[in-house]
Symmetry: C2
Subunit: 351 residues, 2 copies
């Protein structure tokens, strides 16, 4: 059985979007159970509209809801222990839920998740992983904005966590991993990226296939299953891609409305356009996954609708079913055991 | 009179693309004069096919052509003084040409440009500026990959150079300038970006309107005329946008070929699709501009065709006609004079 804890107050529309979203995901995964956290008077009537959801859920009233513009420090001060956001995360910590979903503000959600769940052994900083639509299907890109800057060891950690997530989400044995860089030659780019490349090559980890460097245009091509970068460049890549997609959609709309022939052509090709819209729909892959904590938290986009929220719940389901946390823990253990053996061997051969 | 020096051997196709490209740009700007550098046996017949171009050009034979895969160090060692790339840059240094255009490899072109032209007074490192198509028209984005990393002072320098280029290219008095960051609040993001924001706000330069922080999705929106970032994030943003545009074009192609109705619709809406293709055409805004050197060098995309090369020559023409170099020099002088006055005042008030 998979239980998902949900902060139904998060996002621009709170329970208005979260609750119908949960109902949609439950239709696809009838085995799911939910622990819902929110303000009773805003949720009860909405839940009653979805009898199947009501039957699969336990509701917990919370006095406090973290607001979308609350600073992380304020959210932690006022919302710790008591807010719907905190309590949904805490349910994962206490083992009551397998994974938590919230559309609440990213800064507050990350601050509370770190505070409540703590980082895994050997992991210094968590990362946010995005699911990126590509010409070959989907890739995982991390970090898209949890922290700014990363050293070689942190990039190596991100690589392992991303590979474990790819195994859980795409169900492949050895996902390919690339480090985002400027230029694919080994001499180019940031020192920490080059160093991470050397570590990954030397480590020969069984859970991933280290591909080498990739560039910005490899993201859309889907050259590798997992693209690893630090949070500043990752966030800029993510938002640039979203902006470019919206820009082209806008060009297309303008072009198709311009002449009568174009409008007629649009009508004839409407099913093709619908397919395209579906391909480009950011809701399809809604859900940033916080990695590196002792528990999985899924961040849904704050401005999404019920379909988008349901997609984030679907991701939560996949992560829990494939036991992402154990996969990451095992990989980290293996890597660090190898490192220890490596340094013992080095010490022996030097001595 | 504007004279443009051209390395006709650069790019994947060398003179086959450069020479017809020059002829196209000359049709649009009949007042242009060209100094052409290349291998005589590969160019003479091609030039003869364009009598107007032949009349407007002086050809200089060069024994050596820098190859697309030459490392910058090798290009400098073998190609200095003698290659078509070097001599086209040198023509700018000697005052024989107003601006240089090459489709040669970026690393070699930047290394030779730095070595030959040297950085401007008060500028530590040059930047590459790209012209970015937006929903509002075009913006300038720099640095898209000249150097990795930049401190607050370098970001401030880039802002001034970018603003001067916007004045030269778009003919506006006070272009708006934004610093690329993760999140628009003043508390977020990289320390050096925040520091550059404080400097730009305090400096109140007459040649720009400092807007504040922008995010990745502001690039496509055209929120500001000039977007400033360091070369790693800038290169990743540029390539991610190019990759996303290609990805969507691919989706569109696939969707339109799927059913007979869609194909019929495509035929009816063909002129609209042609307009869209034109909007998305990377050749329209082909040409990275090297800024911060004592002379302007335009890098055309290596894989472009004659139309793309002509677009790069058009950019060179606009830069020279509006005397970009003087604009940058004046802004830098003004800024550094202000800084000096500021530190004298600070010293007086402290003393």
């Amino acid at each position: 059985m998979i239980t998902i804890s949900v902060d139904v107050m998060g996002g621009d529309f709170g329970p208005e979007v979260a609750i119908p979203g949960l109902a949609k995901s439950l239709d696809r995964h009838p085995e799911l159970k939910f622990l819902l956290y929110g303000e009773e008077d805003k949720c009860t009537a909405l839940i009653a509209e979805h009898p199947k959801l009501a039957a699969a859920s336990t509701f917990h009233h919370c006095d406090i809801s973290v607001r979308m513009d609350d600073k992380p420090s304020k959210a932690l001060r006022q919302g710790r222990w008591r807010s719907s956001m905190w309590r949904s995360i805490e349910a994962v910590k206490n083992g009551e839920a397998n994974v938590c979903v919230s559309a609440g503000n990213t800064g507050a959600l990350m601050a509370m998740s770190r505070f409540c769940l703590r980082t895994m052994a050997n992991i210094e900083r968590p990362a946010i992983a995005a699911i990126w639509p590509t010409l070959r299907g989907e890739s995982i890109v991390l970090d898209v904005g949890a922290t700014v800057g990363a050293d070689a060891q942190q990039l190596t950690d991100y690589s392992m966590m991303g590979a474990a997530m790819a195994r859980a989400l795409f169900e492949i044995d050895r996902p390919s991993v690339g480090l985002l860089n400027v230029g694919v030659e080994e001499v180019k780019g940031l020192e920490e990226v080059k160093e991470a490349g050397r570590i990954l090559k030397a480590s020969e980890l069984p859970g991933m296939n280290y591909h080498g460097f990739v560039e910005g245009d490899d993201l859309g091509k889907g050259t590798v299953d997992v693209v690893v970068t630090e949070g500043f460049a990752g966030n800029i890549a993510l938002k640039t891609a979203e902006g470019t997609a919206r820009q082209i959609a806008e060009y297309l709309r303008a072009a198709m409305g311009r002449t009568i022939l174009a409008r007629l052509g649009y009508i004839l090709a409407k099913s093709a356009f619908d397919r395209l819209r579906e391909k480009m729909d950011p809701r399809r892959v809604n859900g940033g996954v916080f990695l590196g904590l002792n528990g999985i938290v899924i961040k849904s986009h704050g401005g999404t609708d019920a379909d988008g929220f349901a997609a984030a719940v679907d991701v939560a389901h996949d992560m829990a079913r494939n036991d992402l946390i154990s996969k990451i823990e095992n990989d980290l253990k293996l890597y660090h055991a190898k490192q220890t053996i490596g340094s013992v061997q080095a010490a022996v051969s030097q001595g």
